[in-house]
């Protein structure tokens, strides 16, 4: 047994987190920064933060993830990191030549109280920021929220730094895709364009973290939202934020600052959430939905009706980020699966409330926990076994020990490819999710079938 110390007996824990279902803010900020064109993320803290975040993102995307660090020493931790950051800005603009440096803080620089805004102003005054180049920043203390919070803070920071209003609407629509894969961002963009809407999608990691092999390394790949596009977000006709935790703050900030009306939708995972997204887009932009999209929707529904018998009544345990789990649980419920244990590491009351509302009609009470961990999820599973586990790669230890069919979702996925190239959002992504779920359920059915009932056709 891999997790041999995990047993059924649940003892209360107030102080000890075991096998977390979240990580810290800065990595989310780094990921969001990579979705800006010609931008180098910068970690204002010890070297280890930057090394850890780059390693984790690299293992997940299998693509270059470049970022710099302020390389704090004991001295800078005592006297403040201003000198380190100013020097870093100079070194970066001279050596690596980005257009934008996106600085995020860490628990170290936050604890000592470095004022990054003031340091950035000093760097400009000292002539360390060449003309036309930018230093943007977000405060991302690791001891608040989770990686999702960091993503949200950096996304808001990029909108706030660049956006301007000329008073003339540009006819574009802001889409904040949330903490999703580059493939998901591309899929969202495809659907929006298919509806004849001209989007500004930010951040946009498509063509950055799912790039091609060409034999030529580009430190700043072709993708990413440009500074010009971010500037134009203040002139857009509206904003749709996908995922309340990751995207709402940026959308609301644009609304407050430039009166760009915004609405917050769930991530379009599954049939109903995608329906709501498309419908909201249609109404907000005043367009009609093309038949091509209605056809995709029909295909997703077709798979559900074809394979419903294998989904029906199957018990599922899930771990992931709130923005993902809310529509995913809704999706599973819509195909008559039975989510029974649901955990996110990210703190926040809304998550449990939404899940409880969504599952109120079930004949049982779901186990749900925000600021929970995988140890707790595993203990729940030990007490009430499930037919399917959906979690990031760390879930495979539970899946192996307890022989549970397992579908990888969320971040990080460290042992499989595909997630950065194929979406799990919108109708096509829904089809892919169902294919993945069916594959593991039917593989299990085949594996366990006695020879006399081993079926050719399922």
């Amino acid at each position: 047994m891999l997790l041999r110390h995990t047993n059924k007996e649940i003892k209360p824990r107030k102080a000890l987190t075991v096998n977390p279902a979240k990580t810290c803010q800065p990595i989310g900020a780094m990921y969001a920064s990579l979705g800006i064109h010609n931008c180098l993320p910068h970690s204002h803290g010890s070297q280890g933060c930057c090394a850890y975040h780059r390693s984790a993102l690299t293992r997940h995307y299998r693509e270059p993830v470049m970022a710099a660090t302020s390389s704090f020493t004991e001295g800078s931790s005592v006297f403040g990191g201003q000198a380190n950051l100013v020097q870093a800005i100079n070194t970066i603009f001279t050596t690596y030549e980005p257009d934008i440096i996106a600085v995020h803080t860490t628990c170290l620089s936050e604890t000592i109280g470095d004022d990054v805004n003031q340091i950035a102003i000093k760097a400009v005054k000292d002539g360390k920021v060449p003309d036309g180049k930018h230093v943007i920043h977000a405060s991302t203390p690791s001891y608040v929220g989770s990686h999702v919070t960091g993503f949200s803070n950096m996304t808001k920071a990029m909108a706030m730094y660049f956006s301007k209003s000329t008073g003339t609407p540009n006819g574009k629509f802001n889409i904040i895709p949330g903490y999703v894969e580059p493939s998901d961002m591309a899929e969202i963009k495809r659907l929006v364009k298919e509806m004849d809407i001209n989007p500004i999608l930010f951040p946009d990691t498509s063509n950055v973290l799912n790039g091609p092999m060409t034999g030529k390394y580009k430190m700043y790949p072709d993708g990413g939202v440009t500074a010009e596009e971010l500037t134009a977000t203040g002139d857009s006709i509206g904003t749709i934020a996908l995922g309340a935790m990751a995207s709402a703050d940026a959308a609301r900030a644009l609304d407050t600052k430039w009166k760009v009306p915004c609405q917050v939708q769930d991530l379009p995972i599954g049939l109903a959430a995608t329906d709501r997204f498309i419908d909201a887009l249609r109404k907000a932009a005043g367009v009609s939905v093309p038949d091509s999209i209605t056809r995709e929707r029909g295909q997703l529904l077709d798979i559900i009706t074809d394979m419903h018998q294998y989904f029906y009544g199957k018990k599922v345990a899930l771990a992931g980020d709130p923005d993902h789990l809310i529509p995913l649980v809704e999706f599973l419920l819509s195909i008559d699966m039975m989510p029974v244990h649901i955990v996110t590491g990210t703190p926040g009351q809304d998550f449990e409330k939404r899940i409880r509302e969504m599952t109120a009609h079930l004949p049982y009470t779901v186990n749900v926990k925000a600021a929970g961990d995988l140890f707790q999820l595993h203990q729940w599973i030990k007490n009430e076994p499930v037919d399917l586990l959906m979690a990031n790669t760390y879930g495979k230890y539970m899946a192996k020990d307890d022989d549970i069919p397992f579908v990888r979702i969320g971040f990080p996925i460290l042992d499989r490819v595909g997630h950065s190239y194929f979406p799990t959002v919108c109708y096509k992504g829904g089809m892919r999710l169902l294919e993945k779920i069916l594959d593991v359920l039917l593989d299990r059915l085949d594996r366990d079938a006695p020879e006399e009932s081993f079926e050719l056709v399922l």
Partner: protein, 554 residues
């Protein structure tokens, strides 16, 4: 990214040897701000060996310039991740916000094997106090104490250790006080590490803090003498990708008994008993040479440098161990093992060599592997034309003879040096003075490591703490056939069309140590440098963009 060098062909017309390394060094420094270039120039050295084996002074173990994209991590990573990560039966609690614990959770490929499910194994677990803002404001000691108590109540481990992250030191949480209080209360060993990420200049500081902690808090707690012959400790072997298992297999075949490994596949009890071994063998000099020194002073265990990377190196290291114990029957047994293992190694080596001969590699990793792996490349006819360490010190480049000359700077001074004295009760001379003298007379070298530089060619480029910018320049100028580094570097290199091998995690491969490891490595390198993938970089319409075409049946 850089286009300072427009056309690499004009610079490398006739192979790497026509390149002037001094010019390359200039080129690597040309883009930096003047101050940064000055600092980096002390860490980029053109190798020159004199008759005595003296090599250029390397400005190693110094701060990384902020803004440089470095390979390096932090002290916490070195302490919790590298040194204590591979020990399975200690509950390692990270005291800090969640990230540090999360990132060091199962990511280093340390393997461990227990006799049965009844044995403790916490390696697949991650324990953290997940500090929140109120803990930062009001202090985290209370939460830490509660976390240790909960860990004890749920898991009943034989030991608990606590690892400090950056904010812990800044807000003044005393992890050592909490540890001793809880040790008293729970009746098990509880100890803390002040390995805040900002300490030192790299992971190396964390290795030191970890090893000091183990030496102070665990070593010497179990005096029982294992009934076995030829008892050694294997220091600085972390069982990544199963390296340690392969080494153990070979040592076992030879009849050599491993009392403890620091720290691959290790247990608390092994550390506690490790002072009873009769010889310390040091694999990774950087991360652990000081432990060998301390054990020699306190307990009388001599140490030798060994290297199990490469077939010949493995054989040589085994002979060294046999020579130390010196019994003829034992020496014969070791020879028999080498004789049985080497034919397969040679068969594969010669087969692979045909396809790899003359190719060039670059290695930028760690504190020992950049040196050790050159041996494997040499065995298949490949040259290592540029190499450097991520977190090594001068002695790892220039050999231990420079240790007295190393200046202690502010960053090193903050890392505790233990004052070690002879333990009158537990000290035991393993060899008489006469025996030691006889061994030395035969050319046997104790506590010696000559460093990497002396084993490299003249004019090879030695680069310490290489940056992303320098990496890209090297690729453009030299176009090596293979580049070895870590996960953060991997894909930028691969995207450049150059095969890349990770020598930290082995890219999910391994073992590469020992005889079977050498075979695995030869085959892996063959796969990488002779892969067909690189022939497909251009689509047909890119190779021949002309629009003229004819129909197939014309």
């Amino acid at each position: 990214m850089s286009d300072t060098i427009k056309d690499t062909k004009t610079i490398r017309p006739g192979g790497v040897d026509t390149l002037d390394p001094e010019k390359i060094k200039k080129e690597l420094l040309s883009r930096y701000p003047a101050k940064v270039a000055r600092k980096r120039s002390n860490q980029i050295m053109v190798n020159k060996k004199d008759d005595t084996g003296k090599t250029p002074v390397m400005g190693a173990n110094v701060r990384t310039v902020p803004g440089i994209i470095t390979q390096r991590g932090c002290s916490y990573a070195g302490c919790k991740g590298v040194i204590l990560g591979p020990t399975r039966d200690i509950v390692n609690i990270t005291h800090g916000p969640i990230g540090c614990g999360f990132y060091s959770w199962l990511t280093r490929r340390n393997q461990t094997r227990t006799a049965s499910d009844a044995d403790d194994n916490y390696m697949p677990y991650c324990f953290s106090t997940d500090m929140q803002d109120k803990d930062i404001v009001f202090g985290g000691e209370k939460k830490l104490k509660a976390a240790v108590q909960e860990a004890y109540d749920i898991f009943k481990p034989k030991a608990i250790s606590i690892f400090s992250t950056c904010p812990v030191g800044l807000i003044g949480d005393d992890v050592h006080a909490v540890a001793s209080e809880m040790k008293e209360k729970l009746g098990i060993n509880v100890f803390g590490f002040s390995c805040e990420g900002y300490k030192g200049v790299s992971q190396s500081a964390g290795h030191h803090i970890a090893n000091n902690g183990i030496f102070k808090n665990v070593v010497g707690k179990d005096d029982s003498i294992k009934e076995a012959d030829y008892k050694i400790n294997l220091l600085g072997e972390y069982n990544i990708g199963g390296d340690g298992f392969e080494i153990d297999r070979i040592l076992d075949d030879c009849g050599i008994s491993v009392v403890s490994t620091y720290s691959g596949n290790s247990t608390y009890d092994q550390f506690a008993n490790s002072h009873t071994a009769d010889l310390n063998t040091v694999m990774c000099h950087r991360s652990i040479n000081y432990v060998a020194d301390m054990m020699e002073i306190k307990y009388g265990i001599p140490w030798i440098k060994i290297n199990f990377i490469g077939g010949k190196s493995t054989a040589k290291s085994l002979r060294k161990i046999a020579g130390y114990f010196g019994e003829e029957e034992f020496i014969q047994r070791v020879e028999a093992v080498i004789e049985a293992e080497m034919p397969e190694v040679e068969r594969v080596r010669l087969e692979v060599k045909k396809r790899c001969e003359g190719k060039v590699a670059m290695i930028f990793v760690g504190g020992s592997r950049a040196h050790h792996y050159q041996e494997l490349f040499k065995e298949i006819g490949m040259r290592t034309i540029s190499a450097g360490y991520e977190f090594a010190h001068r002695d790892d480049y220039e050999g231990r003879r420079v240790i007295p000359d190393i200046k202690i700077d502010a960053d090193s001074r903050n890392i505790e040096e233990l004052k070690i004295e002879k333990d009158d009760d537990k000290y035991r001379s393993r060899k008489t003075e006469a025996e030691l003298a006889a061994l030395k007379a035969k050319g046997f070298e104790f506590k010696d490591y000559k460093g990497m530089s002396v084993d490299m060619e003249n004019d090879a480029l030695l680069i310490d703490d290489i940056s992303q910018y320098e990496t890209e320049q090297l690729l453009k100028l030299y176009k090596p056939d293979l580049y070895c580094a870590g996960i953060k570097e991997k894909y930028a290199i691969q995207k450049s069309g150059i095969p890349m091998k990770q020598l930290h995690s082995y890219d999910s491969g391994g073992p590469y140590a020992g005889f079977k490891g050498a075979v695995n490595f030869y085959r892996e390198i063959d796969r990488l440098v002779n892969s067909k993938v690189w022939d497909y970089l251009e689509a047909p319409w890119q190779t021949n963009p002309e629009l003229s075409a004819k129909y197939g049946w014309e």
